[in-house]
């Protein structure tokens, strides 16, 4: 009988199972300890060992849209939080116009959380972080950044209209050698390649941490293996492990959404695995009959 044919389960049943698998853990806000991600550990170590002298800063590029918010946003939040905890000034920037709202909302969320957690400590716009906004031009813009001897002159103003020379974060900042760390979070194809190729100059390349969606992990591993990437956050799993490492380093830190989303995703994975195994059991039975 057809309803017992394990090789032809109705598509709608599959969709319903996936929906339940994803939504129940999210609704219950249930978080399991994430699997260990060594690439995310390497990224954590890079930021943990980073020191920024006056006139040096970290560069964070958020090149994702609302489509991949679930994976890229937690990645950006955990790395930004780590940098801000270490008081390393961060300049946020994007090559993708859909990411423009996140250049304000993500740092504001992280700063709000930090100020609630560590009372009496403040993170100020213009001193601890700055929003350089969306800059069109893609790889041409990256080449200009690499060739520039004065980043304040190149960017001129931030997204709010402030003259960058007036902001404390850009005091003493020269060219690319003032950028100690580049953290790029993207779901776009070609984004990583542009930064690898162009965000460097003769004799200098900043530490590069990348946050990608699960689809582009194998491609990113090529560059992690060759040393061009110093750390990699592999989708939401990487963000969840990074979040756990932050909890270990800063015990007063409250858990965030990364581990909850990771748990939901894990349950959905198990459902998919179960369906694949069921399908193969049915296939083998059919073959035998």
């Amino acid at each position: 009988m057809k309803q017992w044919d394990l090789t032809h389960i109705d598509r709608r049943v599959i969709y319903l199972l996936v929906l339940l698998a994803l939504s129940i853990p999210l609704a219950l806000e249930y978080a399991l300890k994430p699997a260990r991600m060594e690439a995310a550990e390497r990224a954590f170590a890079v930021v943990q060992d980073l020191e920024a002298k006056p006139g040096e800063l970290a560069f964070m590029s958020l090149d994702f849209g609302p489509n991949s918010l679930a994976e890229n946003k937690p990645q950006a939040e955990v790395v930004l939080e780590h940098l801000l905890r270490k008081r390393i000034p961060v300049a946020l920037y994007s090559q993708y116009y859909l990411a423009e709202p996140f250049l304000e909302s993500i740092p504001k969320t992280v700063v709000g959380r930090l100020e609630k957690e560590i009372l009496g400590h403040f993170w100020e716009y213009g001193r601890d972080w700055v929003n350089l906004g969306y800059r069109p031009g893609g790889s041409v813009m990256l080449q200009n950044i690499a060739k520039s001897a004065d980043l304040a002159e190149l960017f001129k103003t931030d997204a709010r209209g402030n003259n960058l020379r007036e902001l404390p974060i850009f005091k003493g900042v020269a060219g690319l050698e003032s950028v100690k760390l580049l953290a790029e979070f993207t779901s776009l194809v070609g984004g990583l390649d542009s930064f690898l190729q162009f965000f460097q100059k003769k004799g200098y390349r900043p530490f590069f941490i990348h946050g990608c969606t699960s689809i582009t992990i194998p491609q990113a591993f090529i560059y992690l293996d060759s040393g061009q990437l110093k750390g990699l956050l592999e989708g939401i799993a990487g963000a969840a492990w990074y979040s756990l490492l932050l909890e270990r380093a800063y015990p007063q830190r409250r858990p965030d959404a990364a581990q909850i989303i990771n748990t939901g995703l894990g349950v959905a994975h198990m459902v998919v695995i179960a369906l694949v195994l069921l399908g193969n059991v049915g296939f083998l039975i059919r073959g035998r009959n």
């Binding site: 598509r11 599959i14 929906l19 609302p66 402030n162 995703l265 894990g266 959905a268």
Partner: protein, 346 residues
Amino acid sequence: MNYRFRLIRIFTFLGGIYFFLQYVLPAKLGPFTFGKYHEEISNGFILMGAMAVGLGLINLLMVHGSRLVFRRTGWVNSAALLLAMALMIVITAADWLRTQKIAAQAAGLDMLAQFSRRISSDYQSQRTDVLPFWERNRLLLEAGSSQLAVVYESLEAAANLAGRSTDPALKTRLSAGLQETAAHLKETESLLKELELESSTASSMSPNEDLARALGRLQVSWRELLGLQYASSITRKVYDFLYQGLFMSLGAAMFALLGFYIASAAYRAFRLRSAESGLMMAAALVVMLGQIPLGVWIWYGFPELRLWLLQIPSTAASRAIEMGAAIAGLVMAFRMWLSIEPESFR
């Protein structure tokens, strides 16, 4: 040979050689800066690409317009598409014009700040080819006063809006913005007065420097206040509804469909038909179980095994594919540069 093809070949070659040389040559070759106009040239290419939007627009109008006019099957959907397109164009244009206006208004203060700074620096460098500093300060005072009057008017409008508003969050933000802007306005006014008093003497240029900083702060807070006022306007609300409410949400929903499709595609496609498919399935199971919390429960070794799979076989295969595609891309790009085209495409 056809002159048209010859011209195309020459321009293609020149364009290619320019970008190649710009990439490999250093910024300065003795006194000569090769990439001096690189930004302008690149912006020109970006503009040309942007104009291609017109091509797409014409095509949409032709396809859906004809369906609508001749009442062909699905004309209602075409009407909806064209209406949505028109609405989005109008609202986005209105939003863009308004935000440009706000930026232009605020830019006036920024220009005054720069002028004040320039007066100070020119005086310190003892420039003689400009008007005397007191004359320039007088002009600065005139322009500053008229600009501050504009700011005052907008503060009144913002205060009215805050009074009328029924949204508590907007009311709070407007009040905070008003207070901040008013404080910066007062500061700027007092510095202007100080400048007026000291403009005939040249004891120091610090009033100009202080005024420049105050104008900068006023510009930022005023721009934010104008933005807040605009955010409560109908144009902005419609734009937010269409863009963030519909467009971004629909995009996220389409992306979310992938999760369901992956499940059904994996269920349908992963069958143990051969040794190779068994190997592929085993690798997929290891990678999936190695990155989820429940996988670690089943066996603690899954993350390590997953890492090995990704670092060694997967990286090797990905590298091979990337290298092959990169070589092919390089060859194709070289062919395009030298216009070595197949005869069928001439």
